[in-house]
Structure formats: structure tokens, C-alpha cells
């Protein structure tokens, strides 16, 4: 594998950061401010995309920032896995920026400059996490992300936000400082390095009990992955404005969590070590529990965003599940689900926000018949649901298929049941919404005649159409991303 040294990863991380002072100073001129956000988003995405050819040809782009101790420095290394995540986050940032303009202006929200500034900081931290070369750098950006998203969660500044933001912080900061930090330092203590490498860093020096404890500390410590019982911050964080929920809790924050777990499994422990100790089953069991239980809870939620939140918790554990399968298809399925789920879920959140802006409705029981009023929105919702359930013609099918193959490859056919059951549950809690919206009769249905089509404004509808179409597109053209993953994980 060729190693290229380039400053591009650093620049990608810096672009949103550098734009923040400009955003703050143009707070009086909202249009200028939004223009700068888009500019930064495009530049960042282009920078990231420009590294794709190199990564696809098998090289790794590295850049070391600061050396702390031998083997533990702050450095970037762009491989297939990180590239995938960066592309997802970068592209969805642009779409979400468009969406949040529509949303915030539509609701005349306060504190927009603070909002976009911390948003930019959050995306910068996400890119940093994607490009991290070692566990220390990953931890650094993980923490920065936690802190950057706190003001976003607490945006509304009322009592509910205060409590939710507090819970957010307690779960996320508490687990990362209390579990990940000691585990990370212990790894360094035993091996003298923290850099991700395909064969893991332990070189056989770890005993099974130590490996089990460390693995569990990491899996539960990265609470952003929403593994039960450290999941309750996710539904609580739904008090934030929908763009926050969309980008951060469908794409950036939660994906950093699962991304970190995948990195630890593949880059720190190594697939072989975990297979040798048979620890994959442990993680799969934990993930399966979360998958099933949160799907059940999702069924009982009437508030749309909360249902989506529990669905997210469930889907995230698919990714962890896939990684824990330790088989090539399983890993491929799990990691590509990062991509597929991101597009699918963000569509769903966009729809939820559009519904709220257009009609003020938050509860599913109120949404009967709404599909006739907002056909585009609910069509997109339907496509997004298919993506999450895992049915063709959406990309979600591709990842589900590979996960199922993965269970067979790993000889864990029993766990395939988990996947099938949860797919059923997913269908159960998404499809009725769409059905009722198009064919149901609402309590406040105006008349039986033709209903006036009244979508939310264009800034809100365009993004959800884009992401819905992208979900379909990913079904037909997943190849580049598959290549990235295969190269990145040496599958």
C-alpha cells in the first residue's frame, strides 16, 4: 500500500472551522452568512472527494499534526473506511444546510448564528474523526463533537431542552471519559501504540479476560452508537430543532459512534484476534438486544421524531452487528449501512421537519390523510422507510442482504433470525404511517373532495427529494463505495 503525504485531510477539517469567524461577523446579514455556509460545505466536500481517486487506487493519505508520544500522535490517515464516512458527512452537510435555512427561517428561530457556527464546528469534528489515524485522534474529535453539539441540543433554552441537554452530556461525556479513556490508555500501556492497523495492535499479547473487558469498555463507552443501556440520550435529544436531529443524530453524531466501534474492532483489536477469542458473538448478542428492543419501543411511540429516534438506535446496532460478525460480507454490510442508513434516515427526518413547519403536527395520529396534502413529502417518506426497512429499490436492501450473507458466512445462522424479525418490525412501524397518510381519514379532514396540495417551502422539500432519490441511486450504483470499504478493511 502506498503512503502519500498530503495536507488535504487537515484542510478538509479546517475549512468549516475557518469559516466560523466569518459566520459570526455576518450575523446581521443572513443571506451572506448562508452563502458562506454553502461555500464552505462545497469546498469541504470537493476537498474530500479529490482524495477518492488516490484511495481507490490503494494508497493511504497521511498527515501528522502533533507528536505527543511515540505511537500516540495527532495524525490523519485517509483510508477507504474514513473516506466513505467523510463523503457521507460532507455531502449530507450541504443538503442539511439548505434544509436548515428553510426550517429556521420558516419557524423564525432565534440564535441562528450560534446555530450555524456550532453546526460548522460539529461537521469539522466529524471530518476529523473520519480521517483519524489512531485512537487518540479519534477520541479527541469524538470529544470535540460532543461539546460542539451540546449548544445545538440545548438550542431552545427552555426547561425541556435543559434537562435533555444535561442527559445528553451525562451519557456521552460520562461514558467517553469513564470507559473509553481508561481503556485507550490501557491499550497504549500494553502495546505502546494506538495507530489503527489492519491486523490490530496487540500482536497476540492480550489475554482473553483483558480483551473482553476492553472490548466491552469500548463498545459501551462509545455511547454515541446508542447501544443499550446508554441509548436514552438519543430520544431526549429530539428536543433540538429538526436539522440538528437530521444531520447529527442521523448522520454525524451517531455515525461517529458506530464508526469508532468499527475502527476499534477492525483497527485496534483486529478481526483475527476477536475471532480467536470468539468475542464477536458477545458483541452480536449485545447489538441484537438493542436491535429488537428498540424496534419494539419504536412501535409504541406516537411522536414521529421519537419513533425515528428509536428506529435510529435499532439501525445503528445493525452496523455494530455487522462489524461483530467478523466475516467479509458482514463487515461490508455493516459498514455500507452507514451510507445507506444515513441517506434513508435523513430523508425521514427531513420529512418530519417539513410536516412540522407546514402543519405544526408532531404526532403520527394527527397525520392521517396528510399524504394527500403533502404528496411529495410522504412519497419521500415512503422511499426513506424502504431504505431503512431494507427493501429494493433502495440502497438499504444492499446492506441488509450483505448482513444476512454475513451471518451465514460466520456460521451464526441463528442471528439471521434477529435481522429478519427486526425487518418485520421496521415495516410494522413505518409503513402504516405512509398508508394512513395517503389512504387514511383524518379527524380534521376538511372534505372528501380534492385536497389542496400544500407542501412546505422549497428549501425544505428539495433536500428531502434529493436524499430520497439518492437512496434509490445507491441501490443501482453502490460500486465505488463497496470498493472503498473493501480496500479500507482489507476484505
Amino acid at each position: 500500500m502506498e503512503i502519500l503525504i498530503s495536507i488535504k485531510p487537515l484542510l478538509t477539517v479546517l475549512v468549516p472551522l475557518l469559516v466560523i469567524p466569518i459566520l459570526v461577523s455576518s450575523s446581521q446579514k443572513p443571506n451572506v452568512r448562508e452563502a458562506w455556509i454553502f461555500g464552505a460545505g462545497f469546498v469541504m466536500f470537493l476537498l474530500a472527494a479529490s482524495m477518492v481517486p488516490a484511495v481507490l487506487s490503494g494508497s493511504k493519505i497521511v498527515f501528522t499534526l502533533f507528536a505527543l508520544a511515540p505511537g500516540a500522535d495527532i495524525a490523519f490517515a485517509v483510508d477507504g473506511l474514513g473516506m466513505l464516512f467523510a463523503l457521507v458527512a460532507g455531502s449530507l452537510y450541504i443538503v442539511t444546510s439548505l434544509y436548515s435555512i428553510g426550517y429556521m427561517r420558516g419557524l423564525k428561530e432565534h440564535g441562528q448564528t450560534r446555530f450555524v457556527s456550532f453546526f460548522a464546528l460539529a461537521i469539522s469534528a466529524t471530518m476529523g474523526a473520519a480521517f483519524s489515524a489512531n485512537l487518540l485522534t479519534l477520541y479527541l474529535f469524538y470529544e470535540i463533537l460532543s461539546l460542539a453539539t451540546y449548544p445545538l441540543v440545548a438550542h431552545h433554552e427552555d426547561a425541556k431542552s435543559r434537562i435533555s441537554a444535561r442527559r445528553y452530556l451525562v451519557f456521552i461525556l460520562g461514558t467517553s471519559i469513564g470507559l473509553v479513556l481508561p481503556a485507550m490508555i490501557y491499550c497504549y500501556h500494553v502495546t505502546g501504540t494506538l495507530a489503527f492497523s489492519t491486523a490490530g495492535i496487540f500482536a497476540g499479547e492480550l489475554s482473553k479476560p483483558a480483551a473482553t473487558v476492553l472490548l466491552l469498555m469500548f463498545v459501551f463507552g462509545f455511547a454515541k452508537a446508542g447501544i443499550m443501556p446508554f441509548h436514552s440520550w438519543l430520544p431526549a435529544a429530539m428536543v433540538a430543532p429538526t436539522p440538528v436531529s437530521a444531520l447529527l443524530h442521523a448522520v454525524a453524531v451517531v455515525k461517529v459512534g458506530v464508526f469508532s466501534i468499527v475502527r476499534v474492532i477492525t483497527g485496534i483489536f483486529g478481526v483475527d484476534l476477536l475471532a480467536h477469542f470468539n468475542l464477536g458473538v458477545v458483541v452480536m448478542a449485545i447489538a441484537s438486544f438493542t436491535i429488537i428492543v428498540s424496534s419494539c419501543i419504536a412501535l409504541s411511540q406516537d411522536e414521529l421524531k421519537r419513533r425515528l429516534a428509536f428506529s435510529t438506535i435499532s439501525q445503528l446496532s445493525y452496523i455494530v452487528f455487522g462489524a461483530a460478525l467478523l466475516s467479509p460480507s458482514g463487515l461490508l454490510g455493516g459498514v455500507i449501512h452507514i451510507l445507506m442508513h444515513a441517506f434513508g434516515k435523513i430523508t425521514l427526518f427531513f420529512c418530519a421537519g417539513a410536516i412540522f413547519v407546514a402543519t405544526g403536527k408532531k404526532y403520527i395520529s394527527q397525520m392521517a390523510g396528510l399524504g394527500r396534502q403533502m404528496p411529495i413529502t410522504f412519497a419521500a417518506f415512503f422511499i426513506g422507510s424502504l431504505g431503512v426497512i431494507g427493501l429494493p429499490p433502495t440502497g438499504g436492501f444492499y446492506s441488509k442482504w450483505n448482513l444476512i450473507l454475513g451471518t451465514l458466512e460466520a456460521g451464526q445462522a441463528i442471528f439471521m433470525v434477529v435481522l429478519l424479525v427486526s425487518s418485520f418490525l421496521n415495516a410494522f412501524y413505518f409503513l402504516p404511517i405512509v398508508f394512513q397518510a395517503f389512504f387514511g381519514k383524518g379527524k380534521d379532514d376538511i372534505s372528501d373532495g380534492p385536497v389542496k396540495i400544500q407542501e412546505a417551502n422549497l428549501c425544505l422539500v428539495a433536500p428531502l427529494v434529493i436524499t430520497a432519490l439518492a437512496s434509490i441511486g445507491l441501490f443501482f450504483f453502490p460500486q465505488m463505495f463497496v470498493d472503498l470499504i473493501v480496500l479500507g478493511l482489507n476484505l
Binding site: 500522535d73 423564525k108 446555530f115 500501556h189
Partner: protein, 520 residues
């Protein structure tokens, strides 16, 4: 001969003298003289650091007398770093605290500056000296000036706090003096390097053991190691802001430096860890200190007291790290001297700004601070995150070394205490952030207090604060509301914040250039 060590210590001394004289003639001159003296001292410290890094230990003989007869100032890598810290913080604090001094002690400002300079002389001397008795004298100079400076604070409670501090401080210094006496009896010399050489032959002696215990006990009392810390919270909470800002980061850290110096240079690590068997007990003591400090801080309702207990907790880190018995732990402890000095200074700078604008720092007075004083709060948040141990700020990296050292020494209880205290500090600071962010100590609308410029928003339950109002920095009517501290204070806070970040990302460089060569 390199005269920098002399300039370093004598510049503030003469500055104090001239500032005192000038106060008789024209009160306003005392501040510029003090500033000039501190600047000179700062320059000398930096030049010493570069000298030591490039050419090795600098020795300066007072009046040309050769040790062990004469008193020598001995600057090696360790104290060069601490000297830069001391003079830098003292200088920046002078710049930042001018307005605080005007506000709190307007009629006694010249005396304040004179005492301040003498305090700095004491600190610099303690760090630079190579003679054991000289160390005692300088410790006492530091203590005496700090007693008087503390008493200049809160009119009701400061004199009593200072008096209690005197009693405990005298006990501490006297124990140290007694220890030096025993050392003199056994070795016949007072020069540190000399004593070290002679002590290598007499490790088994009870007199040396007594000397060690007495010296260390005295230093522990002075650095406020739990349970010998009782003087600290009151003394620092009731001192005038201009002084609290410099004594909190420096005094206890300089005492930690003295402990490290005694351990490494005078008695020798071999003696401490192989002949004596105290290390395990001391690490346990440190664990208790860390947990006690952190949990007591949780129950405070005043910012200054909360920070004072955090200092007690941080001292536990350094004592534990030094006594772990491996170079990682000692590295962590020494790095933490630098880092904790910077972080505590930044925190007290921010608190001083808050006190300047709001006259008080109790939790009930902190509402709406993010909107009213965004720059101060930015600095406060940064320093708070550093104390919690979030990378890339410096606090994370000293914790890194300390935990690594704990793992290597098998002291898992120490590692656990470090992690638990990080979590407790996270709770502490986010509690304060919440109060400042949400505009009230609980969810009731913000209080309207005298002298506070109240943000023009009302916090409605649904969070929509009106079409035009904005909680961000400078959107619409909110700009009129920013009641920030003067630029001199903000500039100092900004510089220190940058130093915290720099000390973090360059932690590796600092360890490699200064600490590891020192420990060789």
C-alpha cells in the same frame, strides 16, 4: 558569568523598593514601576530557559562565594520551566488585575503592588535557589507577603482567614526548617547538590529519615495536600481578586516543585523508592485527596470556593504522580505543574472578570453570562474543559501520563481516582455552564440584579424568544446587552487560553525537551 538568575530575582525586589518609594511621592507611578520590574524578570526567565535548554545547568553564586560556603542559585531544566511559568503568570496578572485592584482596594494600591512584587521575589527565589536554608527564608518571604495580601480582601472575613493561614503556614514552614536542621546535623552542609552527594552514603540513618519526613510534611502543609488543606479554601476565596489570581496557580505549584526537587535532587529517587517504603501509603493519601477535593467542590455554591477545592484535587494528582515510582508518573506530575498553573490562572482570570462586572461570584449571580460576557466565558469554558481532561487542551496530556504511570506501577486505584475526578469535574463545570447558558440557576426566569445589564429576552417555555431577539453573539437587540470586562483583562485571558492550547498540542515537545532530560 551569566547574570540572568540574579536579574530574575532582584528585578522585582528593587522594583518593590522603588514602587514603595514612589508611592510616597506620586501614587500612580507605583504600577508602571511594578510592571517594568515584572517584565524584566519575565525576560530574564525566558532567556534562562533557552540558555538551560541549549547549554545545560546554570549556576550563579551570590556575591561570588563558592558553595557549600556560599549560597548558589542553580537553574536546571525543571526550575527554568517553573520560573517561566511564575514570571509569565505574575506579569500577565499585573496587566489584568489593574482594574480589579482599583475596584477593590483603591486606597492601598501602591502597597498592594509592593507586596505583590515581594511575593513574586519569594516565589522566584524558592524556585531558583540551590540552598536549603535559603529556600526556607524565601518560603517565609512568600508566606508573609501572602498573609498581608490576603488580608487586603473581603473586609469581614479575610483577616480571620489570613490569621488561620498564618498559624498553619508557620507550622508547615517550621517543620521544613526542622527537617533542614536534621539534614545539617547529618551532612554538615546546606547546599542541595552537596547534601545530595553526602546523603548517598548514609541512607539507613534514622536522622535522615526524620529529616525527610519533616521536610516533606512541611512542604505538604504548604501545598495544601488533604487533610492539611484547611487553610486554602478560605484564604483564596476571601483574598482580593488581583492576588487570588496569582496565588492560586502559583503558590501550591511552587511547593510541589519543592517536593519534586527534594525528592529528585536532594534525597534521591533511589532513597525514596528503595530504602523507604512510604510510596504506597502516599499514593493512597493522594487518592483520598483527589476524591475529597473533587467531591467537596461539588457542594460549593461560590465559584471561588469551588475552584479552591479543585486546586486541592489537582494537588492530589501531582503528589500521587510523583510518588508512583516510575518516570511516567513523575513526568505527569511535572507536566501538571505547568498545565495546572496555566489552567488555574485562566479560571481565576475569568472569575475575576465576572467579579469585576457583577461584584460577586456566587452561583446565583451567574445567570446569562454566556450572552453578557462571551469572551470571558469562552476562556472559562476552555480552561474548564482542560481541567476535565478533554483533548487537545493541556490538562488531557498530563492526565495521560499520570494514568499511564499508574497502570505501569499497578496503582489502579490512582488511575480510578483520576478518572472519577475527571467525571466529577465534568459535572461541576457543566453545572456552571448550564447556569450561565440558561440564564438562571433553575428554570425560573432570570433574576434582575443591580448593576447587571439584563438581556432583553424573556425565556418563554416554548423557546421562541420573539421574532427579533437572538441569543447569539450580536444578533439584533442583543448587542446592546454585552457587558464584557475591559480589554486588559480579556487580553490576558486570551493569551493564557492560547497557552493552554499550545501546551496541549506541544506537550510532546515539552516532555522531550525539558522533562525527560531532567529526569535522566
Amino acid at each position: 558569568m551569566n547574570n540572568m538568575p540574579a536579574i530574575l530575582v532582584l528585578a522585582p525586589l528593587f522594583g518593590a523598593f522603588f514602587a514603595g518609594l514612589a508611592a510616597w511621592m506620586q501614587k500612580q507611578i507605583s504600577y508602571p514601576i511594578a510592571l517594568a520590574a515584572m517584565a524584566l524578570s519575565c525576560f530574564a526567565a525566558v532567556s534562562l530557559l533557552t540558555d538551560v535548554i541549549m547549554s545545560g545547568t546554570v549556576e550563579y553564586r551570590m556575591a561570588g562565594w563558592a558553595p557549600p560556603m556560599g549560597i548558589a542559585l542553580r537553574i536546571d531544566l525543571l526550575n527554568a520551566m517553573v520560573l517561566v511559568l511564575i514570571s509569565g503568570i505574575a506579569f500577565l496578572n499585573l496587566v489584568a488585575s489593574v482594574k480589579n485592584v482599583e475596584q477593590e482596594i483603591p486606597d492601598r494600591a501602591p502597597s498592594f503592588y509592593v507586596m505583590y512584587l515581594l511575593f513574586v521575589v519569594g516565589l522566584l527565589g524558592v524556585t531558583a535557589t540551590g540552598d536549603l536554608f535559603n529556600l526556607y527564608v524565601l518560603i517565609e518571604i512568600t508566606s508573609l507577603t501572602s498573609y498581608t495580601l490576603i488580608a487586603l480582601g473581603d473586609k469581614d472575613r479575610a483577616p480571620l482567614a489570613a490569621l488561620n493561614y498564618i498559624f498553619i503556614g508557620v507550622i508547615g514552614a517550621s517543620f521544613y526548617l526542622l527537617g533542614v536542621g536534621y539534614l545539617y546535623i547529618t551532612t554538615g552542609s546546606l547546599n542541595m547538590a552537596d547534601v545530595a552527594g553526602i546523603l548517598t552514603g548514609i541512607h539507613g540513618s534514622t536522622a535522615v529519615l526524620t529529616a525527610f519526613i519533616l521536610c516533606i510534611l512541611g512542604v505538604w502543609i504548604k501545598m495544601a495536600l488533604f487533610p492539611l488543606h484547611v487553610w486554602l479554601p478560605n484564604a483564596y476565596a476571601f483574598a482580593p481578586v488581583g492576588f487570588a489570581r496569582v496565588v492560586a496557580p502559583l503558590m501550591t505549584k511552587v511547593m510541589v516543585y519543592v517536593m519534586v526537587r527534594l525528592m529528585v535532587t536532594v534525597f534521591g529517587l533511589e532513597y525514596i523508592f528503595e530504602t523507604l517504603h512510604l510510596a504506597d501509603t502516599v499514593v493512597w493519601l493522594a487518592v483520598i485527596a483527589i476524591l475529597a477535593g473533587a467531591f467537596t467542590a461539588l457542594f460549593q455554591t461560590d465559584l471561588k470556593k469551588m475552584l479552591a477545592y479543585i486546586i486541592v484535587c489537582e494537588i492530589g494528582y501531582m503528589v500521587g504522580g510523583a510518588w508512583l515510582g516510575n518516570s511516567l508518573g513523575m513526568t505527569g506530575a511535572i507536566l501538571h505543574i505547568l498545565n495546572d498553573g496555566l489552567m488555574t490562572f485562566a479560571l481565576f482570570l475569568a472569575v475575576g472578570n465576572i467579579i469585576y462586572m457583577r461584584k460577586q461570584a456566587g452561583f446565583s449571580h451567574l445567570s446569562g453570562l454566556f450572552a453578557a460576557m462571551p469572551w470571558t466565558m469562552a476562556g472559562f469554558v476552555l480552561a474548564g474543559l482542560s481541567i476535565i481532561g478533554v483533548p487537545p487542551f493541556c490538562g488531557f496530556f498530563s492526565k495521560w501520563y499520570l494514568v499511564l504511570g499508574a497502570f505501569e506501577a499497578g496503582a489502579y486505584h490512582f488511575a480510578a481516582a483520576l478518572i472519577i475526578s475527571s467525571l466529577v469535574c465534568a459535572v461541576l463545570f457543566f453545572k456552571v455552564f448550564e447556569i450561565c447558558f440558561f440564564g438562571s440557576a433553575d428554570t425560573t426566569p432570570a433574576l434582575h440584579g443591580p448593576g447587571m445589564q439584563q438581556p432583553s429576552h424573556d425565556i418563554h417555555a416554548d423557546g421562541h424568544a420573539g421574532a427579533a431577539a437572538d441569543a447569539g453573539a450580536g444578533d439584533h437587540p442583543r448587542t446592546a446587552v454585552m457587558a464584557e470586562a475591559p480589554v486588559s483583562m480579556l487580553a490576558a485571558l486570551g493569551l493564557v487560553s492560547m497557552a493552554i492550547i499550545a501546551a496541549g498540542v506541544y506537550a510532546g515537545t515539552i516532555v522531550d525537551t525539558i522533562i525527560l532530560p531532567f529526569l535522566q
